[in-house]
Amino acid sequence: VNVVGSVGVYDGLLALALLGAAGTALFGQNTFGSTVYFVIYGLLLSFVWVRLGAPDVALAEAAIGAGLTGALLLDAIHQFEASRAPRPAAIPLLSRLAAVALSAAFFAAVALSLDGLRDTTGGVMPLVLENMPDSGSSHPVTSVLLNFRAFDTWFELGVLLATVVAASSIHRAHERRLPPYPAPLPSRQALMLARIMRPILGVIGGALVWYGSVAPGGAFQGGAILGAAGILMQIAGASPSIDLLDPGKAGGTRAVLALGFGAFLVVAGLTFFGGNRLLQYPAGWSGPLILGLEVAATLSIALTLNLVYALSAPRRNADA
């Protein structure tokens, strides 16, 4: 991808569509329409990432930013639709004006500092490329995510774990005492589509993880696709993933949820107490370690995203 060059017609149209979709999503009247425009916005954003020479981010944005967030939002909107009609606005005019003024000031500050950043030293890319041969991956982004800055990825898995713990705590403390939302009527067509899609998504997700060490893709994108396969089954009315938290299944579920964070913890402990720096892989071990960590992370990410969706709209089948 040639990322050097001037701004062309394509960039102008893309920016116009992107900002238009965002504006409609944020300021439109209809909440359902807003959600649809927000998903469109996410998809347009992945085109921006392609234009910025970042296909890894484009994949993550399409799968997670647009796809998964869209599924979460569209599902939530159903629950909110039944609520009372919005009352007349109570936000004082002064607050509105202050928000607009602050936003304008922020825009001006970014515009001024961005122009100042035009000529700098070469960034860290030369350093990344120099050290990549020993990193266990031949794709720069994967080298950064799973070797040079592996602690970022480790703590990110910690954030995912904290999210699913928090979401299930809310569920446990509160939702169990309330009648569950009605389960969607199982639709034969939707279920069949989900069953056809499941193996295809499995292959795509697996391929994204496997090729992630040499090409765009990796644990996050692959995990999101695998998680999406489970969400599709739930939307179609198959047995809800929330059942995975039932006593008897919860042990195994927790083990898989913690697998990614735990694998990093083990590697961090072994490297730290084995004489290396924290997460500094021993020579020759980088490749297998990265693959192992990616597989563990993928499984945790897939189950976490799936459960987080289930917990955002807990529902049980009527007979459960």
């Binding site: 001037s6 961005l114 960034g123 990344v128």
Partner: protein
């Protein structure tokens, strides 16, 4: 097909990102529906990601975007979907407790 405008690509998309943050902030303050606030928060987040992404190509003379900002943004996208899911879970709890989805100035629903 280029207009040959004398604007570097990174500057252009940096400004697009800044516009998204600005729009998101205005919506966050002026919209009362909690669902709209979650959308606004997400738009602000993705605007920040685009600004960070624009840093990645300001040195792209060798033809490839810098890998470090890309990795940071991928991490950020996953964290923001987690935050969104949690926010929706809390919003749903608010809705079930109060039957309401609006957050208003001086609201004391929590103690009601």
């Amino acid at each position: 097909m280029t207009l040959e405008a004398d604007v570097p690509v990174h500057l252009f998309y940096g400004l697009v990102g800044a516009t998204l943050v600005a729009m998101g902030f205005v919506a966050l303050v002026t919209k009362q529906h909690v669902f709209r606030k979650i959308l606004a928060w997400n738009a602000m987040g993705s605007g920040v990601f685009v600004i960070v992404g624009s840093f990645a190509i300001r040195n792209a003379d060798h033809g490839a975007a810098d890998a470090l900002p890309q990795a940071i943004v991928i991490t950020g996208i996953v964290v923001s979907v987690s935050a969104t899911a949690l926010a929706l879970a809390i919003a749903r709890r608010l809705h079930r407790l109060t039957g309401d989805v609006l957050l208003e100035a001086g609201d004391d629903k929590g103690t009601a």
